[in-house]
Subunit: 355 residues, 2 copies
């Protein structure tokens, strides 16, 4: 079968031939439909994130997949079920986090992530997976099923952040997404659909005309150009923000978020920056967290319940938004377009097969 | 009646004479038993925190009180009820936080704090209070009722911190209190009594022999000398910490807490430092919060439900611990001893009357 991989020492995705996998006990065989591409894939390709499976000279890419069960292999799934796989897998042997069904809470080194670190991804015509990590989705979502994984990332961050405000009567009105990449825009639409916030903001650093700013406008949100309005000045220029969702990986944003927040607000951090020493007014940040009951919550990866929540949320999003978000679905012979990072590209996927 | 106050321009507590207050509509008159002293009182006295009531040349001190209802004045209270007052009061006019019974979530400027900012405290032979801010406590707790307010501070911080971990199956084993002042030690005992943690740590910067280290030892906790083991090295020297409670007001601790935490851990911040610019590895802090689902939660003041929880917790604490914690209860003619800050003083109170 055909697959898309990065080779050791390589710096771009390539097509390779691999044997079709055989499902082991408790695993199903899935025929791949589409696999989405995100910033993490680019980091894996350029070698700044993730790692190869032991003893392998390549890593099959892709962690945002949707497929059709080809062979249930004795699991509870049925042939033809449309499924989305979760990403984390047991590394070698069991650990407590996998044992209690929360692999997304396993610490560094106690998991593999398919397509990212230690295990092949889903960018191949077929893949196998333990049935427990395959989330069944409605057939109507099959074409956009590659959005379930990124949606699940935000569902988990929402759950963690809102739980952090559940000890009191939190009455948020405003939310801001830091970052206008595909995850940022998807999250903005999810927040819009949640009807939980009255006014939404989205931060970027691009000039109009720009397709991501058009999406922000169409969602009724306010575009904030971080070159003009730094994150910590959002309250002065616009208004204090009850919920900040950071999806830039730009470390100063984690600290500026404290000032951007309204009293009793919460910031969800999702970016993964490298080491970077810089000066902060640590006293003011500490004091502001305390005196206004603010919280910062980090969130990584996602679990089955987050995938299920993501499915429900995606079903409620506007078709027009989804059309604008997904700027291209490409075949195996169009990898340059699929992995493009120009300003006209928002979200892309590679198509491996049709239902 | 007699009261203890700080005068504008003054830098120490003084005894003054004031008229006995008359309860207004919805208010009860309370005869004061004891009022505890904490670090905030010292900050108020030295002028680094809080502020005088409008138009007054003095501020009656004290926010940790216990008293007996002298005149219910038509409220639901009864004469002889033992009560503890909460601290925050409406400033001028209503606001949404007071309206929904959560004054501890009101932002800066939308509250007075009795004995701290904008309103006289409880260090007088009598005080009045709206009945809604008087929490009835069991008579057996009357002598130590001045500990209910500080206990409520930690109850609120626990509630916020543990809520922040309620979105998943959190299984904490270790907790560390940063700070061996009276609030730190009381919190350590509360964590011990909660049976939620298997191993406890408490950070200080004192040499043995020391009464606070004795208390830490007696609680079965491990003393961590921050001069030898900085907060961010606790995992290497001891073990990663699931719950960190910061009660030092030392701003670097807020940031070092992220490294002290175990995966999926939470830090509650309670200190109130001044401005202080310093360098941090902001990239590493941001990344660590994200990749290990860590959280930081600020917490200030407390509400009626926290006071009620504090009462329950105090009833379960060991008498031996409480004896060691309260190093002195002094009369109005012993203010030097009551407000002492030497290393043999842990927690003190001023006694205004007896039941």
């Amino acid at each position: 079968m055909q697959a898309i991989a990065v080779r050791r020492g390589g710096d771009r995705p390539v097509r390779i031939e691999k044997p079709r996998p055989e499902p082991g006990s408790g695993e199903a065989l899935v025929r791949t439909l589409r696999v989405g591409i995100d910033g993490t894939d680019h980091e894996v390709i350029d070698g700044s994130h993730g790692g190869f499976p032991d003893g392998e000279d390549h890593l099959v890419l892709g962690h945002e997949a949707v497929g059709v069960v080809e062979d249930p292999n004795g699991t509870d799934l049925e042939e033809g079920d449309v499924v989305v796989p979760t990403v984390r897998r047991r590394p070698n042997g069991e650990n407590e986090y996998f044992a209690r069904g929360e692999p997304d809470y396993a610490p560094d080194g106690q998991y593999h992530e398919r397509g990212i670190v230690g295990a092949h991804g889903f960018m191949s015509e077929y893949f196998t997976s333990p049935a427990e990590y395959l989330v069944e989705i409605p057939e109507e979502l099959a074409d956009l099923g590659f959005l379930v994984e990124p949606a699940s990332i935000s569902e988990k961050a929402f759950a963690l952040a809102f739980a952090a405000r559940s000890a009191f009567d939190w009455q948020p009105e405003t939310a801001a997404v830091l970052g206008n990449g595909s995850l940022g825009l998807l999250t903005l639409a999810m927040l819009d659909a949640s009807d939980r916030f009255e006014r939404l903001y989205c931060l970027g650093r691009r000039d109009r005309p720009d397709p991501t700013i058009d999406v922000i406008d169409d969602l009724g949100a306010t575009y904030v150009d971080s070159r003009e309005t730094p994150v910590d000045e959002i309250p002065d220029v616009h208004e204090p923000i009850d919920f900040v969702y950071e999806a830039t990986g730009y470390a100063p944003h984690a600290f500026q978020t404290v000032d951007a927040l309204a009293p009793n607000g919460v910031g969800a951090l999702l970016g993964v920056p490298g080491d970077w020493e810089f000066e902060v007014d640590g006293g003011a940040i500490h004091r502001e967290l305390v005196l206004h009951n603010k919280a910062l919550v980090g969130s990584v990866n996602s679990g089955v319940s987050d995938f299920e929540a993501g499915v429900d949320t995606l079903l409620g999003l506007d078709d027009a938004f989804l059309d604008d978000l997904v700027t291209g679905v490409y075949g195996l012979d169009e990898l340059d377009a699929a992995f493009a990072t120009d300003d006209s590209t928002i979200k892309t996927a590679v198509e491996f097969g049709r239902r």
